[in-house]
Amino acid sequence: MNWLIISPILLPLVLACIMLLLWRHPVWQRWTALGGMVALVGCGAGLFGVVYVHGVQSEQLAGYGAPFGITFVADLFSSIMVLASAILGTAVTVYSMTNIENRRESFGYYPLLHLLLLGVCGAFLTGDVFNLFVFFEIMLMASFVLLTLGGERGQMEGAIKYVTLNLISSAIFLAAVGILYGMTGTLNMADLSNQVVWIAENRPEELPLLTILAMMFLIAFGVKAAMFPLFFWLPASYHTPPPAVSAIFAALLTKVGVYSMARFFTLIFTHDVGTTHMIILVLAGFGMICGVLGAAAQNEFRRILAFHSVSQIGYMLMGIGLIVMLAHRDDEIAHHAVQMGLAGTIIFVVHHLFVKPNLFLVSGVVERIGGTGELKKLGGFYKTEPLLAIMFLISALSLAGIPPLSGFWAKYILVLAGLQLEQYFIVFIALLTGLLTLYSMVKIWAAAFWTDVPDDSPVHNAAHMAHAKHGIRRMIYPIAVIAVIIVLFGVFAGPIFDVAMEAAAQMLDPSAYIEAVQFEEFSPTLGRGEEADS
């Protein structure tokens, strides 16, 4: 157990070090990176298996008990996220071997990829608020560098917005940690959960202070998660780096924000769900509609995909926001529906973690062959690349929530939960957003795949095609594998839902999480006791 729970951060860290030592040998780095990712999948799978069979697992780093040392906790949600991230990381690594040019490879692309995974996995697993901040910063810093790697003008412009807005969020996060420590005197999340219960029972007059803290964390995570109206950095930057980088960003960055929000707003800030979760629900609704309208207004492959994420974040937050109904209803149906809503969020997060990146990966192939991502200048891919077209379709239709693909289940569960909780308005928005999502996916399809190849397209240039087709299999295979995952997700919707429900149950009833953490009894004496003895 010691090894397993720590492996998702230890493995990328050690491999990143090795790749730094191999700085002058990008080709060796490639294979190291790939081997590392595959091993990470193994670790993630092992961790998931152990958590699934034996329940929540934890580890006290450096051997000091909670709340004093740093705790790592793996419950179902976090281990699922680690596993999914590792699978996606593997796919993107293979894809990068062709998609990332040598000049980028030789400036540390692969170690950065691993360090990004390190930050992401750490954020999933840590049970300490300040440590979460540190992992956020690792992830952010790695994403800053991956975003700017290559130095194109667009990358610089996008990065300025990305960096600035995320640093604001970090500053708020840090301030929130400071105030949190000042108010509660602890940093351990399980301990905080206990404290909140204790405050609610003993000092209810202090509960509004917790709501203030909740708002600070909401903003801090909201920026990372690209929640409405804090999402501006995302459409400004996601389409600027190479598609492989866009893909890994789309898969992981916002998810960490959503994950943290889900964690904090189920484990810690549950004292006033009527206020906090209502705000989340309202912002989720706005996010859905604004994001999808934003996507409808775009005319470039990756810009459409990027803007879309904002609306899908809305769906993910919807499941968290639905907890609001626990403030008004306390019957069994409501509890079950809330659990289902949270399961919907989990399924949506995992579904989106595969589907959106896969669309970015397809866009990379399209851009490589068609020479551009602008829809007007593309065409003919249905005819020339039928397999790619099918894989795009699987991903795009899944994103639009067409059954029986993964996206449908995520949407269905959220809608079902929303209807049972009588939140009709958000359900209406969710369904409408689905239709508009379908529209913008079809827009890409019609323009890039169905229309004839434009006359000025570089596709007619044999030299260009020879170059573009070189090594393209390493780009296609990962896409195909993810497409298969998306299909299987629909076929095995039943078991997947069962697991998600169990994960949601673990989150809604934090006792398992808290029990797993190894607390240490301590009453301060500062040696005075000893002096008294002697």
Partner: protein
Amino acid sequence: MSSLILRTAIRYLFPIIVLFSIFLLLRGHDEPGGGFIGGLLGATAFALFAIGYSVETSRRMLRFELHQLMGFGLLMATLSGVVGLILGEPFLSSAWIEIPIPGRPEPFKLATYLFFDIGVYLVVLSITLMIVYALAEE
């Protein structure tokens, strides 16, 4: 620009600063100091060389490639944590061997956190120099 006096001064200052930085590193556990502060100071010594002579000279003084030094430092810090894992303790648990020093009542403790701090020192030294060199060459 770089006068003879400056160069001479640097030649004498260099070992003193480096030694002092290592001193700060080693005493960090008990007094203010530590790997980070030591590493920054160590980097200053090499940076002075870059100013007084050239980036190339400074690089040669260092003998190691910065990436490797950085990777090595990080690896060292990480592996000092793995020792705990190998001993069946959680990651980053400290472990030490006691080496008796003749003539002193307390034995010297060769502990993992020392390696951890050395790792921090190396990383800070190398990343500071990396940034300074890159900017100086710009």
